[in-house]
């Protein structure tokens, strides 16, 4: 498979600050490559390097050429913190940026694709933050690029809009567009990316498919038992060869496969231990991120939690980084 983007030994310094540190990276044609990492890890600087909008040390080729020499009609970019002229309508903005290329997609098609057909004639400055970002995504797509760089494309977009944009990006990827995507949403990356690179302090510390990264760094599946009898539950489960650890009002059991959940429940019933719920989760990219960056994860990006509760017991809710299932 041909490489759309190749970076070798790429480094970028701002004074004493190392923004990107000796990064090697390749993105194949038609691949969706996700870049994740904490704020300040170097994602945006790396995107700028790959698009030729910041000078760097090292070698970068895009479609076999230097980023500044590549045919601009083949590349699309949505920069982070990008704002187009505020007093043009969404339609005028798509027309304007489309006019900068030799050929461009039909304006109405682009507006429909990003869900902005209804607000097409509103000035950009009067749109909501999410609508503005959707217009910006439309601007990045207007030349129907072979290679698309999107720096946090769904920031500020509501869940429905995000789902719709994800579907659009999936359609583009299915059609052969190569996409380099940065995001703080692990859900987004896990859904869209064929491979993921995790940047930490400017260094690319892990690269692989989401499944590979989860296998390597995500840890084990877990069963979380909500109970006031944590100590007794731990004893009973340990006696049954489960790896259980106590919390104040919960017990965490590591390495539980879905088929073993029933066994664990049976152990608790036999020991006469009452519990509020059993919540099973498998490791996700969030866990990879936490493991590799050592950061405390701010709730809000995780998939919704699904929990099972026995009859007549309260159903607690909560959020966790893991992808959860119900039993």
């Amino acid at each position: 498979m041909n490489e759309a983007v190749v970076a070798a030994g790429v480094s970028k310094r701002y004074g004493e600050t190392v923004a990107v540190d000796d990064v090697d990276l390749s993105v194949a044609d038609s691949e969706v490559f996700g870049l994740i990492g904490p704020n300040g890890a170097g994602k945006t600087t790396l995107v700028r390097a790959l698009t030729g909008t910041t000078p760097v040390d090292g070698e970068i080729t895009v479609h076999g050429e230097a980023p500044t020499a590549v045919d601009a009609d083949r590349v699309g970019l949505l920069p982070q913190s990008f704002s187009p002229p505020a007093r043009l309508t969404a339609r005028e903005l798509i027309d304007y940026y489309g006019g900068l290329y030799a050929t461009a997609r039909d304006t109405d098609d682009v507006l429909s694709a990003v869900g902005m057909a209804a607000a097409a004639d509103s000035w950009y400055e009067t749109l909501s933050g999410g609508q503005q970002r959707r217009v910006c995504v439309g601007i990045a797509l207007v030349n129907d690029p072979d290679l698309l760089f999107l720096d946090e494309p769904t920031t500020g977009i509501d869940p429905a809009g995000r789902q719709s944009l994800w579907s659009l990006l999936e359609e583009l990827a299915d059609g052969g567009t190569t996409i380099v995507l940065t995001s703080h949403s692990m859900t987004e990356i896990q859904r869209l990316a064929d491979r993921v690179g995790l940047l930490q302090d400017g260094r690319l510390v892990a690269v692989g498919t989401p499944a590979e990264l989860i296998d390597s760094h995500g840890g084990e599946s877990q069963l979380v038992i909500d109970t006031d009898q944590a100590a007794a539950a731990v004893d009973a489960l340990t006696d049954a060869d489960f790896a259980a650890t106590p919390g104040s009002t919960e017990v965490v059991v590591d390495g539980v496969s879905p088929v073993e959940i029933g066994d664990a429940a049976a152990v608790l019933s036999t020991a006469g231990i009452e519990y509020g719920s059993l919540a099973w989760s498998e490791p996700s990219l969030d866990d990879v991120y936490l493991q590799l960056t050592g950061e405390a994860f701010a709730a809000g990006d995780a998939d919704s939690t699904a929990v099972a509760t026995p009859p007549d017991t309260p159903s607690p809710t909560g959020t966790e980084s893991r992808q959860e299932g119900a039993q």
Partner: protein, 254 residues
């Protein structure tokens, strides 16, 4: 065709953006009107005939035109560059086929249109409010090349200012600091006789001096036989030089 398409797209976007900033439109045209009213109609010469504005009204036409030819491109192009940089628009444009020279040309064309309209307004006001007599001769048509040349020159200058200043406020402050002395010390409103003798060579260093002298040779009766070719050539050469330097100064990277 692609180049024309790109320049047209950029110019149309810039034109609409300008027209929809009502305050900018108002003051772009109101500022020269204010100048004509104050200096042309309100300020009186000394009873002895000396002092500022002692020349016939048409003598000051180059000065009034210089206000829009100088201030508008400097501040508009400079702050547009600062605005583009703040909003990461150059980062986006750097990945499109639009070149830096094409960007500056598009914005220069918009400025030519705006300043062309403002110049017509000024000429009309000067004639109506001050009773200035502008000789209608074929050479009056050369006013267009002078205005276009000066606008191109100062758009290039504005691009350099935009590159050097980190904020829109900085651009406005820098352009005012540069434009104000240029406006009054370029043989526009203040005659050379009112300046110290040693200052005359400095007046010759101002690009605006050649615009003022050339325009005066086209619009001021007593100077109507004066040569203007050298002035037009200087304005043209400087316009090319500043345009190239300005295009080069437009940021493509961070």
């Amino acid at each position: 065709m692609s180049r024309l398409r790109r320049i047209r797209a950029e110019a149309v976007a810039a034109w609409h953006s300008f027209l929809r900033r009502r305050t900018a439109v108002f003051f772009t045209f109101f500022f020269p009107v204010l100048l004509v009213v104050i200096f042309g109609a309100l300020v009186r010469t000394q009873p002895t005939g000396g002092g500022l504005f002692a020349e016939p009204a048409a003598y000051y036409i180059p000065g009034y035109l210089a206000t829009v030819v100088l201030f508008t491109p400097l501040s508009r192009v400079g702050s547009e560059i600062a605005r583009h940089r703040d909003d990461n628009r150059f980062e986006k444009l750097a990945t499109t086929p639009l070149g830096r020279g094409e960007w500056l040309l598009a914005h220069t064309l918009v400025n030519v249109a705006i300043i062309g309209l403002a110049s017509l307004l000024i000429l009309g006001l000067v004639v109506v409010l001050t009773g200035a007599a502008v000789p209608i001769t074929p050479r009056l048509a050369l006013l267009g090349p002078f205005i276009v040349g000066a606008v191109v020159l100062f758009c290039g200058f504005g691009a350099i200012l935009g590159r050097l200043s980190s904020t829109q406020d900085g651009v406005i402050a820098a352009s005012n600091t540069i434009a104000f002395p240029l406006l009054f010390l370029s043989d526009t409103f203040v005659t050379l006789e009112l300046l110290p003798g040693w200052f005359a060579p400095l007046v010759d260093l101002s690009p605006l001096t050649y615009f003022a002298r050339g325009v005066r040779a086209l619009t001021y009766g007593p100077a109507i036989e004066a040569p203007y070719g050298r002035e037009l050539a200087v304005v043209a050469v400087l316009a090319v030089g500043f345009f190239v330097a300005g295009a080069y100064a437009i940021p493509r990277t961070d």
